[in-house]
Symmetry: D2
Subunit: 353 residues, 4 copies
């Protein structure tokens, strides 16, 4: 932490401040007297200090600059530069999310509508190569009058699809009260963009065992996103997957959000956690999904989440961004071309004789 004093700060005030910094926090302040301003460097453990709190220690302070990252467990340094590996046990076997593993594809509808559609979708996406089925039981909707998801009964349908296909299940938790019932079905628990800073929810999913798929908030900075991961990890759960799903910008005419693929190299340098990209929400339109999915693989994503619906025109939510199963089949072939070029495409499983 570095404190920059205002130009003209009295020497006595600087001395008082350095003394207080030393006595209150046990820090060793070191002073640099510049041409116009005095700068104080704080030596010691400052990671938990709040720059805003320091700011208030003197009205002669101009600004407080943080030198160290506020996240610890989520930082790449925490694992000495090694990527972490989130392993999820599905009926079809363990699936590894991480930089040193093949791309993991998650696919399925926005919301679970009925047994036939979810089981059929599961079969189709499995055949095309997906390892996980997505599907919402509880849906965050802007309007109270829109379809809110079928809730608990939808969880049962997901369980049926899981049993039928062996795919892992990922579904969103919106209310801490639903954690237990949802945790019985889900292999991965999703925290949605609107709840990325619902700290009560983060603490709860941090205090249980299932891996957490943490979507980036609509206007969250990368630092805030990693701090949300830190909440989960600090509560005891190290298995977090970070999913970019488009941010809010000034231009929403042709895409509903702006998919920020630069998070891939940025997160890679900041954190050891696996990275996923959701081009369906990221663009909002099915026709733009293939180009962005390919781009995400080329940029190095560890996972892709793609909306697939057997009949998008009848979808109860998010129809325009869903692919049909046929289009998804073709997409997987297109993705394989890029995936193989960058050595991230899963090998066909060995057939036991």
């Amino acid at each position: 932490m570095i404190i920059v004093m205002k130009s003209g700060a009295p020497e006595a005030e600087v001395d008082r401040l350095t003394e207080e910094l030393n006595q209150t926090w046990g820090l060793t302040p070191e002073k640099i007297v510049g041409r116009y301003k005095v700068v104080i460097g704080l030596v010691g453990d400052t990671a938990d200090l709040d720059p805003l709190q320091l700011q208030e220690m003197s009205s002669w302070i101009e600004q407080v600059l943080r030198v160290e990252q506020p996240f610890k467990r989520a930082s790449r340094e925490f694992r000495h530069g090694e990527a972490s590996d989130v392993i999820v046990n599905t009926p079809n076997g363990p699936v590894h999310f991480g930089e040193n593993h093949p791309l993991v594809v998650i696919a399925g509808p926005c919301s679970v509508e009925n047994e036939e559609m979810i089981v059929e979708t599961a079969r189709r996406v499995k055949a095309a190569g997906a390892k996980f089925l997505r599907g919402g039981a509880y849906k965050p909707r802007t309007s109270p009058y829109s379809f809110q998801g079928h809730g608990e009964s939808a969880l049962e349908l997901l369980a049926a699809a899981r049993e039928e296909t062996g795919l892992g299940i990922i579904t969103e938790l919106m209310d801490t009260a639903d954690l237990e019932v949802l945790g019985e079905v889900a292999d991965i628990i999703q925290v949605g963009a609107r709840n990325m800073q619902n700290f009560a929810l983060l603490k709860k999913v941090g205090a249980q065992d299932k891996p957490v798929f943490l979507k980036r908030g609509m206007s969250s900075t990368i630092e805030e996103w990693l701090m949300a991961a830190e909440y989960i990890m600090a509560a005891g759960n190290p298995n977090v997957i970070l999913c970019e799903r488009g941010i809010r910008t000034y231009d929403r005419q042709y895409c509903r959000n702006t998919l920020d693929l630069s998070v891939i190299p940025v997160l890679r340098s900041l954190t050891h956690l696996p990275i996923a990209i959701d081009p369906s929400h990221g663009t909002g339109w099915a026709e733009y999904v293939p180009a962005m999915a390919k781009a995400a693989i080329a940029a190095g994503t560890d996972s892709l989440m793609i909306e697939v619906h057997p009949n998008p025109q009848k979808a109860l939510s998010d129809g325009p961004q869903s692919l049909t199963p046929d289009r998804f089949d073709r997409l997987m072939e297109e993705l394989a071309v890029i995936g193989k070029a960058v050595n991230r495409w899963p090998q066909p499983e060995a057939v036991l004789a």
Copy 2:
């Protein structure tokens, strides 16, 4: 709702679509054949229709334009153009929030730290003219390592300050699990910016009686904000106060957020609900609070929420944006000048002989 077909859409497809619109939704589609494009107007009750769902009915649809507002109970029309009046019973008597009432000032610290500080602050802000005491028991903090509020014990301290001064209490609810205990103390329940689209929470505060102070999400549109109010109202609670607290923009160097005062005239034309402005979070710096508080009154706000801390440099959260009680005294005098000029300043109470 208006459907714009792509240029070149076959006549047969347009006919098929209008037929389906009529049969599925009971709407009367009317067709306008333009030079390049066909436009279909939907006559009937379309307020609950989801434009995204309509979009999927044909791949020849270019766009679906909403003509009617998606909010109903929150709309100005819902009360036939009349402003609503949120009345809160405090020990000192009822306080009215609304366009036809004097400005209501809410003041107090970011978080409740101990009994002395909260009671002392309450006394000072009451003396200066505030009607409500704010103070956080549960605090949403970006970092899991920052002070998270004293929780339930802080609620007791707020109760003590209420008893001591007769001020109404407003405090933030973060977890649905805390609603009951918090509701015993709070006269108004605050939903914070980060939870504006925590729909589980909105439904819960909508299903109880206390008025709700709904802060605008950091990057929420006005429409999304009114839809969040609609969630509360649709669940049965008509007493919602809308509070602007600064939005997130590209420039965060000098202010932590961009306080969007244009919401005042915009909301006035869209909704009957009372409007509040929080210049403390809106700017993030105490020195900018007075100018923005004055501006808010001139623009017509119904309420102001201002952070006051007896000793900002020792504040456990948000120090730099808090005013001292002395500075708050002076601010109230400055505000009175504007408030009187626009006839929104409270009259001194009649002294009973």
Copy 3:
């Protein structure tokens, strides 16, 4: 300037760097060795150094933090804390823009359409209390097919309105080639939002004598805006007025831009230059102009620019944000209430016997 080294930077590299900093730039680097990182403070004249260039001096540099503001002539310190006073000589006498003077109102149509309309508008806004007439001869339009302004012939009409009413004229320069002819008519030269970083234009208006009305770019930071003013001042022209006209944010449904009134207290602390607010472009809708104009005065603006058109429904550009002369008359009465309350309203001129 402060250099933060990456964690683990070798001591030899730190030594090499400090030596190079000293030899190349004549700076005295002072080193603080923290628990994890080394920080180097640079003592000497660093205002012209580019942090990005320093960054490249070693791959072990994590970040370079600027401690001093990059603007000089525009800074408040440059005038030792005193506000500057931009004086414009109009036929009706000198008008002063500045913190210690009454509010200056500028009014008129978006573009000059014909002699009758511009002279009539000039008469009306003068009668209501405006000191300057605005009107575009050259118009920046998003579409090449929209009305582009009447150009040079419109300048003649502005001259006629000036002669008729004695109002000062402010009009926009878009092309350096038009500077001479425009300078013959304009009392103040406007640089529009789209040209705020047209550095060729800034240098040219800096090299002539007329005051410059510098609109903030649509997505310019306050620092970039002050650096644009610095371009003009560094070229020799100290008479710059800063005009906020709304910034671009994610929500454009109800207002065309987000009027950022917090620039008023922020600029007041950073710069000595006069401040103007344009609520017409800032909101894009005439009905929101009065509330925002009142707010701007309460927040302390030195000037207001307001669009007035005798017949908005026939306006060739920007109709929806223009007030009629009658509405402008009433607005001036409303503004007087606030202006008098804050002691910024012009006194009626003494009548000579």
Copy 4:
């Protein structure tokens, strides 16, 4: 164009309006009477109409919705769905930019510093596979005190590099006054992000023959960008290449801009013009360039512009985002892997016997 009337609009007013629409603009208005609102569709040639102007025709109009795109020459329909092909003649032969041609790589330093560096860089990027050399003679810099480019003398150095290597030259025009001298050297003229809406400049480069490389403005919508291209095309020059270089968003901590790769599929559907991506400015940091360059190819870009500097730590501008020639060599090998996978990588030239 569609006009939505306010709820409760009197029938007589609707009739008056439709009559006026017909008489003033020769349009055939068609009326749809909905449950709450009346909607008027305008049949006829409405592409040049300004929605804002229509809005003013009656105070009973709620909104005016554009149904047709405002750009014509830039639209995909203008070429009946065919991609256009911008051919640039360089000393080494013609280079084709377009969807049906191999990827074109442009590389070079931010600014031209001296003959040795520019010729050396040209040789290295040519050897690695670039077809064009970039290099600024005139530099847009935020500060008037930063290096502004060597101007005309830098153009001579670019000419020397062109002669030496046969590479095409692309360089930025900032002032209309420099067009002639710059046009003698440049094979492609760049219009920078800050000048994307400098309409005087757009008209000038539209009235000459050299292809124009049009960078997207920092906060320009896709529609505004295409309208800027339309300015150039309407002035007579059909050879425009659209270059995305990162937009401004709320998060600038780790990347200087947010590179918006979704423009690739979006522009492909809207326009026939070739698309380029600049990952160097788009991220601001050399270490993030490779991932984003690969992503851009996978998403379908027609061209890449990449900053290369022989000695980034001595660069007079934009050092941190420049690659060394050695790193660029490796990058080209990495890009070839993706480029070949998607069949957009240039074939090695046949060797003449």
